[in-house]
Symmetry: C2
Subunit: 270 residues, 2 copies
């Protein structure tokens, strides 16, 4: 049987799928729920402890007491200001060592992972627990992008990578060569909302999500789900492309069905 | 007396200031108003012709009939899809020659300017007509940025430049090292609106606007006005920095007064 899993839980569907998987396989687990971040429904009826995000030392003690061996971070965590974090002693030491204030989300996560490994934990990714989570390469549904969409995908992919290099975000929307929206920390759904106001007539745009070039694969890979397809459709887009083997599709079968139902293309690109 | 000016008018305050200046100096002018783009109040009582954005050939004929020598583009023009433009014969020739579909806003504007020069017009910038329009270097109001704000300005400036190199946009907001928002084509005011939802506790962020590295100075320089300061304040920001000699402050005195009134810093950086 797999060793006991510690789940550092952010928002969204991914932590739910991890919990379901552990339950169905009988794998022991303990959820670390962060106040103001983790959704309370996630932990109901499951072993869990609520902690402040800044209570890093306490969190590590709990994980050790619970005899957790492997750690998994899943779901986005909203990074508060350093003032609001109120780091405990371990947290202060970590921040002093890394100068984390200067880093974007990605640099910070990589450093957190290394610090957790330094405490003796094995840090794994959501795709190590859930099979079929990483996006495969190729066209995944029935709809195919036309020539214009292909061009927009190429441009959007290039821009998403440039954004990633600057540690800004992971997604953008391009229509007919024009960049309609670029994601910072508002999240993909919010970004899609504003596309409806700025989109041009003619063929709709495309959403592309790509991992940051230096992104730690065990934390916060770009993720899409059924809701992403619904919101992309509402925003007047024609399809969604994500980085193959570098992004997560939660409930892949359902997402492909939804894409087919809405007439959107869905693909993994490299 | 200055020669007759043709004003290709987009939205906002800048075209109004140009018209006021021409009227006050008795400089002859003719406004080209674009359907669905130019604000009707701008042209009321002034010599003007309404044209479709795609009616490039007709626009040039009007300007020549009106004996216009110098041309000035002022105020943002919303780029429609190529389908919606319905270019006339001149427009089609221009598009065929430049392959404009593949360009972002900036590349397109540069090519439009060169084409207008090829038709014998002198193309000038708004700052050639209005003095004190370009942002000067230094702190412009009473409030000074602190060390944290200085760091955020540096980071935001670097990001705005990178966005500009990719021809995405000209503005971004950074708080405590975190990129809160990046502007694509939604415009600065819309970008500021969403900062309120994503901002962190603690010291507020900064807005930086910079011209694109290859930007044609005679078209669409990053622009701020009194409304920008008001919206930055509403968004919880602590100040605004714009590229010195590469961005426009409309009604500079009023903008500085507003910054002082709201306690925001306002500065030109290089």
């Amino acid at each position: 049987m797999a060793d006991k899993l510690g789940l550092l839980a952010g928002k969204g569907d991914l932590p739910k799928r991890i919990v379901q998987k552990c339950v169905s396989e009988g794998r022991p687990f303990h959820i670390i729920a962060f106040k103001g971040q983790t959704e309370p429904e996630l932990v109901a009826g499951h072993p869990h402890t609520w902690v402040r995000l800044g209570a890093a030392g306490k969190t590590l003690s709990i994980l050790k007491e619970e005899n957790v061996k492997s750690l998994l971070m899943a779901g986005p965590i909203k990074r508060p200001s350093l003032v609001a974090i109120r780091p405990d002693a371990w947290g202060l030491k970590f921040l002093a060592k890394t100068g984390a204030a200067a880093f974007g989300d990605d640099g910070l996560l990589t450093r957190i992972i290394h610090a957790l490994e330094g405490e003796g934990f094995k840090v794994i990714g959501a795709h190590d627990v859930l099979e079929d989570l990483l996006a495969p390469k190729g066209i995944l549904g029935k709809t195919k992008p036309d020539e214009q969409a292909e061009k927009d995908i190429q441009k959007a992919f290039q821009i998403a990578h440039a954004m990633g290099e600057l540690d800004i975000g992971q997604a953008c929307v391009v229509q007919d060569g024009l960049v309609l929206a670029v994601e910072a920390i508002e999240g993909t759904d919010k970004m899609l909302e504003r596309c409806l106001d700025v989109k041009r007539d003619g063929f709709g745009g495309v959403l592309v999500k790509a991992k940051k070039p230096n992104q730690e694969k065990r934390a916060d890979l770009p993720t899409i789900g059924v809701a992403t397809l619904i919101n992309a459709h509402k925003a007047g887009l024609r399809g969604v492309a994500v980085e193959a083997n570098g992004s997560i599709i939660v409930d892949q079968d359902k997402v492909i069905s939804k894409a087919d139902e809405l007439g959107l293309f869905l693909m993994g690109i490299e």
